[in-house]
Amino acid sequence: MRNTVRIFATLSVALAMQAGASSAATADAVEYYHAASNHYFLTASPGEVAFMDGSPNWRRTGASFKVWPTAADAPAGAVAACVYNAPVIGADVRFYSVDMGECDFLSTFDLASYGGVQFYAVPAVNGACANDLQPIRRGFFDNGQGNINFRYSTTLSAAQDSMDRGWNDNGVTLCVPGTSMARRADIIRLLRQATFGPTDELISRVEQLGINAWLAEQFVAPKSAYPDLPYVAFNRPDTCTGSCSRDNYTLFPVQVRFLQNAYTGQDQLRQRVAFALSQIIVTSGIEVNHPYGMARYQQILLDHAFGNYRDVLYHTTLSPVMGRFLDMANSNKPDVARGISANENFARELLQLFSVGLYDMNMDGTLKTNQAGEPIPTYSQTTVENFARVFTGWTYPPVGGGTATRNNGVNYEAPMQAVQSNHDTNAKTLLNGVVLPAGRTAEQDLNAALDNIFNHPNVPPFVARQLIQKLVGGSPSPAYVGRVAAVFANNGFFQRGDLRAVVQAILTDPEARGDLKATANYGHLVEPILLTTQMMRGLGGTSDGVYESRQLGSMAQSIFSAPSVFNFYPPDRKLPATGSTAPEFAILNTGTVFARANFINNIVMGNAIAADTSVTGATGTRIDWTPWQALAGNPAALVDKLAWTFTAGSLSDSARNIIITAVNAVSATDTLTRAKTAAYLVLNASQTQVER
């Protein structure tokens, strides 16, 4: 280290120059590298920058980030970063910190000299920065023989590169102004998580408002609706064929409306949360194929997407669609004489899938274990049988209105009704040994049982984890689950189950926000329904949803038609190779991978799809390629624009270059094929189809 250039001799000069520097809102902190000593050096002082640029043995690494040069420029919460220099311990070392404890600690070292203040920054909290701020990781090198160094990195990849070479990662220590690109990438990622796909209009809106204000706007956006379809007889009349059968005895009208709402509705976040709930509290067209019923069921989820989970449980429990799907409707008290038990189906799945799950959890979603290290079952078969007796005595409402007095035939128009004489009035033992006394009504028992379930400690992590998985990624860290579960348990106003607060917590969490995530199992495969809506919205398509709704079955995700109450894919599905949780991969196989690619091909490479004239108001499906063709003369710009929209800027340079090459293989005069080629390849890239 003898040859290290001594730069600190100039320090006083640099500080003097800084004082006279013009006051911009932000300044650049620039990184340098000295090959002989393998040292990095960072400075935000223009005087030092000028000096370093003139030093023959130091070169810029190309990395820099913005800082606030004065307290006046910095936002609330920012503090001065202390500077310590250690020029005499083997090499030139500079240390920045906004942690007063660290600054004080350094001041006790004789070898470290205080270097004043160059910039202001916001301290990281729990290793994370607030929205729109750029996290800076600190690397620390110590060879144990007096050679130490610090490095400040904007990206995990740079930090990782250092760690690979023997550096320690001190984690995120500073938060500095976000660069416009990082902020834009984060906004687009937010829109992939919170909507049915980013559009230019939405990106601008969030850039203008900021993330929190945009979320607030979404929470009060006008609500989408499903069509209010009238009751139809359970059995299709022989005279009802063709479009009559399709529109009354298949989910087609609901599926099409779902896509239309997703494509153009203003309440993107509400719809997205309702869609997530529809995959947790599942009903399916496999059994409930009457659209007037499914429309009402899905409307419950839209209505309560920002409401309370207790209300969601209540309304879905009493939905006749759920009543039929899981056989609570017309489940009567046990008939001892004939040896008939209460139906267990709803009781079991309510516990296992909609609320508490199979095993006792910690608040962060990890499993509790007993003394033998084994997970602890949340309930037993006996518990299920007791809950089954709770849910006896409910039936479909009479057709045309009125009060039920006996088991009625299927009618999805209104919530189920109780027939007290069919209800089991014996005592029941519920979760945690809570006993419902004998002699209560069906309504009393039902509400008491839902309270018993809702207040079980598993519910916050169980629901938090699944909502995170559906919005952000399949393998959330326990800490992330714990932070969101805490909000589920208490929204800050001692209210449990506030879904609006939960959604806000999920989408503003540091694990969802910030720079591109380098964790190997971050994110999730985009499921077919979202692949469809992201493609249509991102490309600027116009569609009635008819064609797309008919294609989704081949991709294993026909809308509202999961194969069973276990949804299209299970929340705990693991990748065999790594063990990472990757739910959506349960429906990705060699068959569906072609179905996805060929669906993209039909939308992108094919011509516009004509309206189905048998569907009222049909428009068909078409993409307006004009804006994309305008970029076709510059393939790099074309690909970059697509990559921003569809990958939030995460498309790798290698992938970008491969796609640009393919676009260049198309005649420059064929701007349409150029645009389509670029779109086809960007959409089919796994880097696009894995959202992260």
């Binding site: 056989d327 267990e344 199979l358 971050y522 069973s564 072609f594 293989a665 198309v666």
Partner: protein, 465 residues
């Protein structure tokens, strides 16, 4: 880490095929297979395949295989609420009579299984009674006293489906026994680059092994990329798509998606011509109108018919039929499903006869769990445990029962509850071991396929020759 040797091979191949800039890589694949085969020891000369039919939802075996003699029938019927007024017993007179060779009692199959009567009579269909997940052999008193481990989460769909497919019930497994069977057996397939397992029912846990080795194909239609032609622009786009799949990524989900896509492209070059080609004589054996399960089994027959082209000597197929979770309205629902299943199974058996491979193809059923014998409110039955299953094929020692048929007394010696939930007397491990042994797994390799098989003394139930 993500790149298993097999995927490396496939992706290397994909790359070489892509480098040829041709749309079809079939010629390359055959050339590669041939040259590699010459360098290796010869695979077995015969062909063998297992075909798994998974009945999703929990098929009610109590109404599949039914005691026919008066006393036993009456016990069954009364537990099921009789045949009228919402009861779910099958009428005694409607049963398809079968007389298992080594059992001194009459039984009947569900009436919709009439098409399979001739297969039973020919001795090519066997019943395995009261089989289910077990951690180790377990008696009712051991179960009641809790002195031995029970399978995790009995009566839960997801867990029990997984345990039937994993043949592991004392912990959450990451692989299925079909996948592990392929892990062990695939060396017998020599240099073929085709995946050993084909699913015609999408992704299935059963097929997941330690090495990715499954191709999922649709039951109808083509299997491959559409939208390409021989123009320069199209060729460039296809090559770019291939190159994108070969990029490495720091994100494991991106790598996994790339691997599946790469495997799909490789497999389709071989499989698509097979399943889109004319197979008129096979088609004519299958029912009209086609059903989902008949289409799936016809697709399996087409693949077996093309076994020389595919080049595998040992194969595993997976098909499925869902809708068996008959909590209510069971009589009509199960009747409708069996009306699809039985003719499809019969057609498939006939297809193996026509192709001359009846002795080399063994078909068997799995399902989530059995169902309660006792009637549940709404005319159905609830989740239970032990269940009956069928094994079909020329190599099957059929016309007989294996395992022990349970005593139908509610709360009786075989019931772990009072609702008719049978404690299995045969484990899934033993069932799977018998099938795996037939396919060619040695006794010493069996624990690789079935890690808990050592806990059971009888590892060959005898239903296969």
């Amino acid at each position: 880490m993500n790149n298993s040797p097999m995927i490396l091979t496939r992706r290397a191949f994909l790359q070489s095929a892509g480098a040829l800039a041709g749309v079809s890589a079939l010629g390359t694949l055959q050339g590669l297979g041939l040259s590699n085969a010459l360098a290796q020891s010869a695979p077995p000369s015969d062909y063998k395949a297992l075909v798994c039919i998974f009945l999703f939802g929990g098929n009610d075996g109590n109404n599949w295989v039914i005691p026919r003699d008066n006393a036993a029938y009456n016990l069954y019927s009364s537990a099921r609420g009789g045949t009228t007024n919402g009861g779910i017993a099958i009428a005694q007179s409607a049963l398809v009579a079968i007389n298992p060779r080594s059992v001194s009692a009459g039984f009947g199959l569900h009436p919709q299984f009439a098409p399979m009567k001739s297969v039973w009579d020919a001795g090519k269909l066997a019943v395995l009674c009261n089989v289910g997940p077990l951690v180790e052999p377990l008696t009712k008193s051991e179960y009641s006293q809790g002195v031995k481990d029970r399978p995790e989460q009995l009566f839960s769909h997801s867990d029990q489906q997984a345990q039937w497919q994993a043949a592991i019930s004392d912990q959450a497994a990451r692989t299925g026994w079909g996948g592990r069977l392929a892990d062990v057996i695939d060396v017998q397939n020599g240099a073929s680059t085709m995946p050993m397992i084909a699913s015609v029912a999408g992704s299935a846990f059963f097929t997941i092994g330690n090495t990715p080795n499954t191709v999922a194909i649709p039951s109808t239609g083509s299997f491959g990329l559409t939208g390409f032609n021989t123009t320069t622009a199209s060729t460039a786009r296809l090559n770019a798509l291939r190159e994108l799949l070969l990029l490495n990524s720091s994100n494991e989900f991106v790598r996994e998606a790339d691997d599946i896509f790469a495997q799909a492209i490789d497999s389709s070059n071989v499989i698509n011509p097979i399943i889109t080609g004319a197979t008129t004589s096979l088609n004519s054996l299958f029912p009209t109108p086609a059903t989902s399960i008949s289409n799936q089994l016809l697709q399996v027959a087409r693949l077996i018919n093309a076994r020389a082209t595919i080049g595998l000597k040992r194969q595993i197929f997976f098909v499925s039929l869902g809708g068996f979770d008959t909590h209510a309205g069971q009589i009509n629902t199960q009747d409708g499903l069996f009306a699809q299943l039985a003719p499809a199974m019969k057609a498939f058996y006939d297809a193996t006869v026509q192709m001359g491979v009846a002795d080399q193809v063994t078909t068997f059923t799995l399902s989530d769990f059995g169902r309660t014998l006792k009637l549940a409110s709404g005319g159905g039955s609830d989740h239970a445990w032990g269940n009956h299953h069928l094994i079909m094929g020329g190599a099957v020692r059929g016309g007989d029962f294996y395992g022990r048929f349970p005593d139908h007394a509610l709360g009786g010696p075989d019931d772990v509850s009072t609702n008719g939930r049978w404690l299995p007397t045969t484990s899934v491990d033993q069932y799977a071991a018998t099938l795996a042994r037939w396919l060619g797994v040695s006794a010493s390799d069996m624990p690789l396929v079935l890690p808990n098989i050592g806990r059971f003394s009888n590892t060959n139930l005898g239903f296969l020759g």
